[in-house]
Every structure is written in C-alpha cells, then in structure tokens.
Symmetry: D2
Subunit: 331 residues, 4 copies
Amino acid sequence: MLKIGLLGAGRIAGVHATAISAHAGSTLVAVSDYFPENAQKLAAEYGAEARTTDEIIADPSIDAVLIATSTDTHSDLIEAATAAGKAVLCEKPVDLSLERARTCLANSAPTGQPVMIGFNRRFDPNFGAMKAALDAGEIGKAELLSITSFDPAPPPIAYVKVSGGLFRDMMIHDFDMANFMMDEAPVSVMATASCIVDPEIGAAGDVDTAVVTLTYADGRIAVISNSRRAVYGYDQRVELLGSEGLLQAQNMLENTVVKSTTNGVTGAKPTYFFLERYMPAYAAEWGAFVDALTNGADIPVTLSDGIDALAMAEAATQSAQTGMPVKLGDV
Amino acid sequence: MLKIGLLGAGRIAGVHATAISAHAGSTLVAVSDYFPENAQKLAAEYGAEARTTDEIIADPSIDAVLIATSTDTHSDLIEAATAAGKAVLCEKPVDLSLERARTCLANSAPTGQPVMIGFNRRFDPNFGAMKAALDAGEIGKAELLSITSFDPAPPPIAYVKVSGGLFRDMMIHDFDMANFMMDEAPVSVMATASCIVDPEIGAAGDVDTAVVTLTYADGRIAVISNSRRAVYGYDQRVELLGSEGLLQAQNMLENTVVKSTTNGVTGAKPTYFFLERYMPAYAAEWGAFVDALTNGADIPVTLSDGIDALAMAEAATQSAQTGMPVKLGDV
Amino acid sequence: MLKIGLLGAGRIAGVHATAISAHAGSTLVAVSDYFPENAQKLAAEYGAEARTTDEIIADPSIDAVLIATSTDTHSDLIEAATAAGKAVLCEKPVDLSLERARTCLANSAPTGQPVMIGFNRRFDPNFGAMKAALDAGEIGKAELLSITSFDPAPPPIAYVKVSGGLFRDMMIHDFDMANFMMDEAPVSVMATASCIVDPEIGAAGDVDTAVVTLTYADGRIAVISNSRRAVYGYDQRVELLGSEGLLQAQNMLENTVVKSTTNGVTGAKPTYFFLERYMPAYAAEWGAFVDALTNGADIPVTLSDGIDALAMAEAATQSAQTGMPVKLGDV
Amino acid sequence: MLKIGLLGAGRIAGVHATAISAHAGSTLVAVSDYFPENAQKLAAEYGAEARTTDEIIADPSIDAVLIATSTDTHSDLIEAATAAGKAVLCEKPVDLSLERARTCLANSAPTGQPVMIGFNRRFDPNFGAMKAALDAGEIGKAELLSITSFDPAPPPIAYVKVSGGLFRDMMIHDFDMANFMMDEAPVSVMATASCIVDPEIGAAGDVDTAVVTLTYADGRIAVISNSRRAVYGYDQRVELLGSEGLLQAQNMLENTVVKSTTNGVTGAKPTYFFLERYMPAYAAEWGAFVDALTNGADIPVTLSDGIDALAMAEAATQSAQTGMPVKLGDV
C-alpha cells in the first residue's frame, strides 16, 4: 500500500484525493496547501492529516507525492521531492518557463525517482481506445491528425493573466495528445491566433482562438484548433486519417436521449467541462502511476514528455507573435 | 423499347410517368383518367396522348399498363389488361376486398401475363441494402423483426372513409415489408388499435394508432407499429434481430447539418413524406418491372404477394375488432 | 446517518454494498447470507459485520435493510423487516407468486414502514431524462411506447428453471418501465412468445423471444420486445411517440471511437450487460431511497408498483400460453 | 427557353448535359469537343448537334455556353464567348495562371455578359442549409471554420502532372467554400504540405496531404485539410464555430443501414466520389445560372470569386514551397 502526500488542496487536488483514496494500492496520508485551512478541510474528508509541504517531503514513510499546487512551484517541488526519494505525479504544465523545466529535469533525473506528468487525457477511455486501434494497425500508417479542443467558456481574466497564455495553459494538453498519437514530437510549429471571443483576453495579452499546424520529420501533419468558448459544452474530439482509414474519438454526451419534433432531431450536449468529461481519466491516470511504482510498469507520461509539450507551447507562442513557423529545435 | 399506357393521372400517376419516361427501355404513349382533362394535362407533359382506358387496353401496340386509378377499379383493370395481352404494374392495394382480389388472381393467372404489385418500399435502397445483408448471412438467422411506420399527418377524413381502414391502406405496406424481410407470410396476426390522434378518424370508423404482432410457423416474430401522426416527419424504420446481430434501416434525413447550441445538438428531420422519401424507390420499382419484361427476370412482387398482404390486413382488421388473434388461414 | 443491514451477499448485493458505503447518508453495518462465508467476505470489504438475517432484523439500531436474497425469500423478509420497524429496499421481483406478493403487501402495509422495490432502470440517467422531457410536455401527450430490451446472452439453464420464466424474470423490468413512462398500469396484456434462440430454454419450459402489447384505458398502446440474445451487447432502448414528437433513449456505448475503413463506418458496441450499463442507476436508486427515509421524499417505486409489474408478468405468461389477451383485472 | 452550347464532351460535360436537358428553362442545342466523335456521341444522347467550338460561339441563336473543356482553354473561351454576346458558366478553375485569369476578367467584364464559375459545392443542399443557418444567425458570429476534404483515391499521375497541383486542382474547391462561408477572402494564407500517400505524386512535383490556415482581417480563422486518399470514400465535411454554437455539415452516406454484431456497430460509408455526392448540386448550380439569366437573379459565383480562389491557391502553393505565410495581396 503506497503512502501518498498530496501537495495542494484546490479543486483538482480534490479530484486526485478521490482517486488516491479509491485505489486499493494507495492511501492518502497527508495534505498540504498554501492556505492551511484548505489542507485541513480536504485532509479531513479523506481521513488524512494536514501538514506543511516541507513536513510531507521530509517524511520518510511517504512513498510518493502528487503535486497539485500552482504552476510556479512545480519545478521546485519536483526537485525537492525526488531529492527526498519520493516518486512524483505532477500536474501539467511542468512550468511556464521551458528553461526552468529543463533544469528541473537535469536536477531530478539523477535521483532515479520516477516523475510522471498529469496529462490526464491520455487516460480517457475514448482516446485510449483510439490509440489502441491505431497501434493495432486498424487504419494503417498515421498521416493527418486533427484535434479539436474548445472550452465551454473562458476562464476569469485574473486567471488568464497568470496562465502563461492559451498555448501553455490550454493547448498544452493538445500538444501532448499529438505526441501521444503520433508517437514523437514534431519538428516545426506554425501558429495562427487571434482574440475574437472576448476583447478583455486580448487586453490581458492573450489570444482566445488559435490554430496550430505541426509538421513531423517523416511528412506527417497535425492540426490543432482551440477556442476558449463553445457555448454547447466542452468539445473534445480527435481524428486521425491513416493509409487504411480514419479514426475519430467523438464527444461524450450528457445522456442518450434524442427528441424529434417539428424543430428537428435533438440530442444531448457534450458533457460540460473537464471534471465531467475526464473524471474516469483521472482515476485511470492514478492507477497507471501506482502500477508503475508497484509493478515496474513504465511511467506512461514522463517529465521529458512534459517538457516536449512545453517546448511546443513555447514555439507556438513565438510563432503566433511573429507570424513565422518555429522549429522545435530552436526553442 | 416498351410502350406503356398509364391508367390514372393523379399524384402517384405523375410519379410513375416520370419513371416511365426517364427509363431508357420504356416510353409513355398514352394516359387515361376518370377526368379526361387530367389525362390530357399529364400526357402533354410527357409527350404522350390522352385516351380512354378502353382505348389503351384495346391498343395492341401497347405492351404494358401501369394502373394508378382508384383502388376499387384495380381488379377489373388487371383482368381486362391481362386478357388483352398486356403486362401490368398495379398500385397497392390489389383491392379492398380479399375475395375480389383472389378472383382477380384466378382470372388473370391463366393469361400468363406478368402482374406486379407496386409495393415501392421493397425498392428503397436502404431496405434493399438491409435485405441484401440479411440474405448474405451477416446477422445469421432472422428472429425478431420490428417495423416502425408513422405518417407525418393524417389524411383527410374523406379519404379515411374510402380507404378501407388503416390496415388495408397504410399498414399494408408494412405487411408486405414483413413478408419481404421474413421471406414468407406469417401464420397468425394479432392487432391492437385505437383512435387517439384524431377523434374524427374514430367517428369515421377507423383507427389511427396500431400495433400488430405476426407469428411465423418457425417461431419467428414480427411487430409493426403504425401511427397516422409523427409531427417531425415520415418515420420509416425497420430493424431485425438475428442470431448473429441486428440490422437497422434508419430514416433518411433532409440534410446532414448538425447544430450544437445551448439547446442541444440538433440535426435535420426525416424527409417529410413518401414522395420525398421514396422517389428513388419508384424509379427502381419501374426499372425492375422493365427488367422482368425485357430480360426475363422474375417479377419481384407478384399479385400473390399483393394478396398475402391484403389477407394480413383483413386478419388485422378482424383482430382489432374482436381483440382476438386471427389465423391467416382463416381469412 | 442511516444504519443499513444487507440481506444477501451475491453479485447484486455487492453492487448495493458499494452504493450504501459510498453514500454520505448511509453506512453498511451488517451483511447476512445463506452461506455465512459469503457474508463474511463481503462484510469485510466494507468494514461491516457478518451476522445472521435474524440478528440483523432483530437489531433495533439498524434503520433499514436491503433485501438481495433469492426471490423466494423476498416476501417473508419484507414482512419480517417491516414488522421489526425497518424500512426496506427489496430487489425485483417482489415474488414469483402474485398471490404471495399481494399478501405481503397486506401484511406489511399496516406497519407503515416504507418499502421500495429495486427497479433500477427508473434511475438510469437516460430514461430519467426521457421521463423528465415527457413530464415537461416536450412531446405533448404520450401515445405509443416501444421498449426494446435484449440481453447479450441467455442465462444458464439452471437459472432459467428457477427464474419464473422470461416474463417474471426479464420482462418485468420492462413492465415497470412501461408503468413509469405511462404513469399507470395497462388494462390488457397480449403476449406472443417462442423459443428460437436456444432449444434448451424451451425444454426447460420457458421462452427466449417475446413481444407483448399493452393497452391502456385511454387508448394508448405500449409494445415490449425481449430477446435473450443480442450478440452485440445489452440492448436497452425506449421510445415514445407523442402528439408533438418522439423521444428515444438510445444505448450507452463502450466508447465514442468511430472507425471508417473500406468496410464501413464502425462505432463501439453497447455496454455489455446490466452491471456496466446500470451501475450509475444503482447508486441513484440508493440515493432516492435514502432521500425518502431522510427527507420525507416519496418512495419512488413502491411495493404496489412491484405488484403491478408482477401482475403484468402473470398476465403475459397466461397470454403466451393461451394465445389470448388477458385483462390485468383478471389476474 | 435558353439555348445552350456545351463546350467539351468529357465526363463532367456529361453531368452538365443532363442538368441542361432536365431543366425546364434550358435546352441543349450543340456540343463541341477536341475529339469530334466525343461531341457526336454526347450530342446524340441529348438530341443536340455536334459542332465545332467556333461554330457554337458564332451562332447568334445560342444564348449561353457551358465551358467544360481542359483548364488551359478556359480563359480564351470565356473571352471569346462573352465577346460574342453569350453568358458563360465555366468549370473551375478559371485558369492555372492567376495573371491570365485576371486578364480574362479585364477582357470579359466590359462585355457585360454574365460569367459564372462552377464551384458546385456551394449548391450542395447540406452546405447550403449550413450557410442558411449561419446567415439566419443561428450560431451568432462566425469565428473558426474547419473544412475537411479528402478524395477517396489519388488521380492518375498523368493528371497530377497537368493539374496545377493539389492547391489549384483540389483545394481550390475548399478555398471557395471558405469564401462562401466567411463571406469574404482572407488576408493571409499559410500552407503545410507533404507527399506521404504516394511517392510518385512527389516525383511529379506535387503534394498529396496539406493543411492550410487562412486568417481574416477581423481575426477569424479558417483551416482546410486535404488528402488525396481516404480509403472509406469521399470525405467532405465543413464545420464552423460561432459565438453561439457550432454548425457541422456531415457526410452523405450510401444508405442508412446500421449493423450491430460482435464486431461493433457499422454503418454505410460516405458516397464514393463527387459524381455520387454532388449530382444534386450540379443540377442546382445549373438552375441558379438559368435563374440569373432568366429572372435577373445575381450570379451566385462570379468570375471574381473564381479569381479569389485561384489567388488563394497561388498563395498556398508559394507558402508550401517557402514555409512562410503569404499575404493574399502579394500574389
């Protein structure tokens, strides 16, 4: 039974606390947070203790930590935890600074401790089934990947300002999804972006609508479309054209009811947002982490994977600003 | 090139006139109607002559007639045309009287002239593809057939009064579809029916909503649901459970556009009524008739098939009135 | 916090144990079973005690019992538990004997203890959304209900022999679904059934394929189709035609992946069986029971509801044997 | 009744001949072709005369010509026909040379003769319904357009060599679709392309897989994905995210049959290629042309529209070669 410390007690930390507690191979022993009362509240719900982050990292009885704190603390905490001999599952992104993330890898790798990055979508059963079909050769060789990823509504402007921008905060999931599906990182990134949903997002220096094209060494192409607003719900689709067919992972719907009236044939909307859509994925993600620690399975999303996605976000940010394509090797 | 006389110049006759003219192997030479001006108008559109029915039947240069007159004239015209050496394609139903239809068969069969009954739905590409998949063994052995057939809106009460009732007028199509899919007629018919759509239909002595269960000698079962009103359009679906799977023929839609808004995900309605839905079927039906006459192919829907469906309608009518099942051999 | 005793420790009892434990308003304190070691095993998983059924019923600290034992014990246990002042949630069916179920109602009603019957499908989010749309008037007045309910594969013959037959064991769920959607019981039941899936089922005196037509006092009609075998999965669909539209609750699918190849466009199968499909429904069912006990909400499925469904099963069994319709008032 | 001359007698000319003949307001009087025997054959089928192109253009009784010859003759024929006082419907593209197309516009505009370019997809009922919904404000303001357009199989290499390349030959349809949906041309074009389907296409100097991003003056974005091979059929989809929803025009399928087996739930493939998919569009296109000539309706796709699409193809070709975005104003 793995003993787990949870760093952070916000909304996503709560999701992880549920997964940690529900898994037969792990138990939540301690929770910390910048606001100790938040840690106490979350810890109480799961029969764990509230402690400081330092106490958790210093506790030799704790096997692994899940880092769900603010992004600017991720690299420091990965380094501290691995140095203390703990395995780490860290929420995305690794960091807003690509350079800092690379230093973090350099510092933590020598410890030999496993570090996994929380790209939860790889564990969605739909995308997982799609990848399995691809790997089984059901559509031959991959050629052209399209990822559609629209949030239902923009985040608060205060969040936008500290988010690192759409590419590092939102599309980073899609960069990782592209790497997952294509089994490697691209060589070049070309971004087109604008602010047409909400002018305040533009005033905050960010974009809300973007299309990024990725080119791969062997000529394959991927295209990612993002919007901060899809009023009908959380639109999360992936499709991949191969030499022998097409695979599509379509949206999950709120229910299966269809109504036919004089107005047409109407079905339910997509599940509203990531907590509804990806709840099973968070549980599966945790299961994969425990499996890696317990049974020696490979870490399915490594710190290097996290850095690849961050580099693509960095390249896309530069490309959107300059209007020119950016080679991934140049960032 | 087959020379064709068209008996009747109403709406469905116009559909047939188009099919006859468009087919490379047939030409429309004459049209008759109870109202001569209707015959003149339709004939003019297609470069044909308006004549009397007797003249058409007496013309030795005419190879075949298509009977699209009122139902009460069908049997007489089939007999007269076959006696005059003409092949016949007659609109459904053969007759409202099962006895008269049987006499018609007895009288026309000795002429050796081919008589086809216009059950157009057998020629719908969707139902045709479904039957082909069944015949190819794609779902193993047929077990349980369900036919859903809803009209968009009830016909005028004046029509209801002379229609012979829902079973002979509307469900007769579904009886033939059941025989088409199951490759034989059932042994027993049980009908449940009521008037819940429009009380005037009940006042006219008819029902507007009905469910009929058919049982086959080998234990297979079919169920047919009819309603005179589906406000969203013409609902025409067939599904068949077999030992190795399920086949469904779904509705044709007006277009493929899907709209996602805060109200849900809305697609187009089914095509509105039989002219929209079955126009390709009427052309294919005519093609099959010409093929039978020209190339010696089998008549795909015989007068006997028409009588089978009529017998089922008769049995269903009795069953709905008595509340008891009726053996097909007893009508 | 309601203290719950669980009678029975089989597969479905395990599902309920999870729901009881996961609910914030209830705790599982004791489990009994005919085989004490089964009770011990299940109790241990949830931190409860294994006891005898008599001990659980006699324990005044236990607020409610969930009866998940074999069907022949349901009536006795409902009577004993209510007599001991406990609320009851009892698995379907109430009993195989309609007479015994009625006596059970007569005996338990005077205690004033709430008794709920576990027709889990009422709590399926899809059927629930469909009923909510109907109640909101979205398709006007209900007219014609169709329920398709196919199991993926027949149960073992040993189970078939003690099941009470397809109507009491399998279609009873659909009878309750009809009553749920139509808001009352029908007046007449007409069943057609046969054994075409597996001759051993027939040899055991049961049928494996059946269609039942229900007629309501106001002319509405419902039709239920059952098969013990749908090789593609658990097929659970409901559709209802109303005066202003059609509602359909379609199948849940294993995932949303669609593959297009030269063979066609292929999506996932329906979830395989009731545990996969209805797991959320079992949790919602338990929540409704707790809500009724705690907050005074109505019991959503009463013992009378259970008897109605059983009476319909009895009528269908008679109808299938005699080939005649059976009035519900006559059973 | 408009008298029409048809220039060209190849496959697409045959499609147009059918549309011209079937329309009540036009009649096909003459056909020409580089190979006179082809003109004779096609003319005979439709009761028209075979003539030379010069004879047709010189015939004052002919009201309009439909140009369906090889692309390199389009500009010359547009100029000659308009100079002779004839209205023109010309197949796409206007020309492979943007400069020549602009000269053609300059030369033909002063004649005042209407010139329409045959972008048939604007007349597809699905895309038409989508545009109508957009124009009706059903999804608010357009923001992000995605066009997926895959051919079922690559054309012969001989064709590839004279086609002008994927952007001028194939994607030009999608450029026009973007202009149709967005109601204006973009300001900038960025193309990514490669040859991964068939190395012979690359050897011929062309690409077979491409993604193009278009940016509009107001910040809107469009993305077009093309592949020369989708083994499952002709994949023609358009989707548009707006401020209040999403519109999608999905594929037309060969039929509506769905088969559920142990292998999954399989529906029909998309209609195979443009003749199957767009046959109704060709008829509607011709109807719109006749309507413009007869009733004074606007020409729905002008020569300027054709030049806009060609300019986008030119820009995309340059962008794919240089890896840099190209401003539309610079080509």
